[in-house]
C-alpha cells in the first residue's frame, strides 16, 4: 500500500454495490413504465392497421346492421371542425390571459387570483366541462336547439383554455426583461412593446404550447358526449350534431359486432397518429425557438 491510497481512498465495495443496485432499480422502473406504452402502440398497429384503407377514410358510417359498416369520414372531418373551432376560441383568449398576467397583472392580487383559478381549471375533469356545456347550452337551447358542433367546441375550448394560458405564461416569462426595457427606453408605448417585441420573441413557444393543447383536446371524449353527440353523416354546419373520432370509438367499441370493433381500432390508430403528428410539429417549432 503506497501513501497515495491513504490520501485518495478508492470507492468502497459497499458504495459500489449500492450504486449498482440503485441503477438497476431505476432501469427496471423505466422498463416497467415502457411496457404499457409499447403494448398500446403494438395493439393499435396490430388491430387498427387492418381497418385502414381509402374506403375507411372516404365513407361515412352507414349504420347498417349487416353488410358494409362504412368508414370514419364524418368523424374525421367532425373532429377537425370541432377542434379547429375550439382552438380559435381558446388560443386567443388563453394567450390574452397570459399576456395580462405577465405584462400587466404581474404580482397583483387579481393576477394571483386568476392564476389560482387557471390552476384549478387545469384539474377539472373533462366530463365536468361537458356537463357544464350540456346544462347551459344544450338543455338551455342557447342560440341553436339541442346538440351542436359549436357546443362541443365550447366544451373543448374550456378544457384547452387553462393549458394554453399556463404554457403561454411560462413562455412569455422566458422573454428577457432586458428586451422589454430596451423597447420601453426607446420611448415605445407598452402595447407596442408587447406586439412588436414580446409576442414575436415568444411566438415559437406560443405555437408549441397551443399545438400541445390542441393535441390534448383532439382525443377528448367526455366533453363531446353530450354536446356535439354523434351522427352518421358528414356535416359542415357547426349548428348541427356532428360526429367525432373519440365518440365514434366510444360508440363502436361497445357494439357486439367485430366489424365495428375493428373500425374502433382503426379510428383509434388514426387519432393517435394525428396527435403524434401534432406533437412532432410542436417539437420542431420549439426547437427553432430562440428561447429555451
Amino acid at each position: 500500500m503506497s501513501a497515495t491510497i491513504g490520501v485518495l481512498p478508492p470507492v468502497s465495495a459497499r458504495r459500489r454495490r449500492t450504486d449498482r443496485v440503485a441503477r438497476a432499480l431505476l432501469g427496471l422502473a423505466t422498463v416497467v413504465a415502457l411496457v404499457p406504452l409499447v403494448l398500446v402502440v403494438y395493439y393499435l398497429l396490430k388491430r387498427g392497421l387492418g381497418a385502414i384503407s381509402w374506403h375507411f377514410f372516404s365513407t361515412d358510417p352507414t349504420g347498417a346492421f349487416i353488410g358494409d359498416p362504412g368508414g370514419i369520414k364524418s368523424a374525421l372531418l367532425g373532429t377537425v371542425e370541432i377542434v379547429g373551432l375550439a382552438t380559435l376560441i381558446a388560443v386567443p383568449i388563453g394567450i390574452g390571459v397570459a399576456l395580462y398576467l405577465v405584462e400587466y397583472g404581474r404580482d397583483g392580487r387579481f393576477a394571483a387570483t386568476v392564476r389560482y383559478f387557471v390552476d384549478v381549471m387545469t384539474g377539472v375533469p373533462s366530463i365536468v366541462f361537458g356537463l357544464f356545456v350540456y346544462i347551459t347550452l344544450v338543455i338551455g337551447g342557447f342560440v341553436t336547439d339541442g346538440y351542436a358542433a359549436w357546443k362541443g367546441a365550447v366544451a373543448l375550448a374550456l378544457l384547452m383554455l387553462p393549458v394554453v394560458t399556463r404554457s403561454a405564461e411560462v413562455v412569455l416569462q422566458l422573454v428577457p426583461d432586458a428586451l422589454r426595457e430596451a423597447a420601453l427606453a426607446l420611448g415605445a408605448p407598452r402595447w407596442r412593446v408587447v406586439t412588436r417585441v414580446v409576442l414575436p420573441t415568444a411566438a415559437p413557444g406560443l405555437v408549441t404550447g397551443s399545438l400541445l393543447a390542441v393535441a390534448r383536446a383532439a382525443g377528448e371524449t367526455a366533453p363531446l358526449l353530450f354536446t356535439s353527440a354523434i351522427v352518421l353523416g358528414t356535416n359542415f354546419s357547426l349548428g348541427q350534431r356532428t360526429n367525432s373520432m373519440p365518440i365514434q370509438i366510444f360508440n363502436d367499441v361497445g357494439q357486439a359486432q367485430d366489424r365495428l370493433v375493428e373500425r374502433a381500432w382503426g379510428t383509434a390508430l388514426t387519432l393517435v397518429a394525428m396527435i403524434l403528428l401534432l406533437n412532432l410539429v410542436a417539437r420542431l417549432i420549439a426547437r427553432r425557438s430562440r428561447l429555451s
Binding site: 404581474r106 404580482d107 428577457p176 432586458a178 428586451l179 426595457e181 430596451a182 423597447a183 420601453l184 427606453a185 426607446l186 420611448g187 415605445a188 408605448p189 407596442r192 412593446v193 412588436r196 417585441v197 414575436p200 420573441t201 411566438a203 430562440r290
Partner: protein, 286 residues
Amino acid sequence: MSTDMTTPDKTTPSTSDSAPAGAPMARMPGRPGAATAKAMALRDVHAFYGDTHAVRGVSLDYAANRVTAMIGPSGCGKSTLLRCINRMHEEIPGAYTKGTIELDGIDLYGKAVDTTAVRRVIGMVFQKPNPFPTMSIFDNVAAGLRLTGRKGSDLKERVERSLHGAGLWDEVKDRLGKPGVSLSGGQQQRLCIARAIAVEPEVILMDEPCSALDPIATLKVEELIADLKERYTIVIVTHNMQQAARVADTTAFMLNGEMVEHGATSVIFTNPTDPRTEQYVTGKFG
C-alpha cells in the same frame, strides 16, 4: 409626434435650436453645427424601491455636449439615478421618484408629460447588449422609429446614418439582413447605441456600457462616446475608474444614495475636496 416634449411649452429659449413645434424631426444626428444638445438639471432627487430609499436627495447639473461619469461602489444608487432620468425607474413595481429633473428647463416629471416622450428624447444604452433577437441588424436600428410609430420614407437613410454614427456601418453594411444577435458582443453594443441614436435623442444615458465587453471592444465604444458628445449630452455610469478618467469631462461620485462630489474629472481623480472621494478613487474601499 407633437408630443415631443422639448418643443412645446418652452420657457427657456435655447441658443441655437429654434425648430417649431411639430417639426422635431428637423433635428437629425447628422445635422450641421453641433452643440445643440440640451443641458439637464437634477434637484433634490429621491428614488425609492418600496420602502428602500435608494437615492437620497441628489442635485446635479449635466452640461450640454459633455460626458459626465457617475462613479461609486455597487449599490450606491448611481444606476437607479440614471433610470430616474428617463423615467425607467418607475417601471419596477413599487418604485417611485421624488424631486425634479429638468431637461432644458422642462420638468420631466411634470403632470402633462408623457413618459414615452421623455424616453424618446433621453436614450439609454444598457449594461448587457440587448438587441431584439427576432430582428435583423437593419430592423434593430429601425426598431426605435417603428416602435414609436415614426416610420417615414427616409428610414433607410436614418438607419445608415445611425450605423455610421455608432461606427458600425463598415462592419455590417453587407449583412444588414442578418440577425442582430449574430454580431459579436462589442458590435451588438454598438448596434444598441445605433438603435438609441436613431430616434434622435438629446441625451444618452449609458449604464456600464462596457462591463460585458473585452478591452478592444471597450476602446471602440469609448472612442465612440468621444464622438457622440458633439451631438448629445452623455451620462455614463461606470465601475471602471480608468474609463471615467478617459471619457468623462466631469465626474460625480456617489455613496450610499448621496452625491458626495461632482467636478472636473481631473480634479476628482487628483485633488478631490471630500476625503471619501479621495479614499474611493485611490482604491481604499469600494
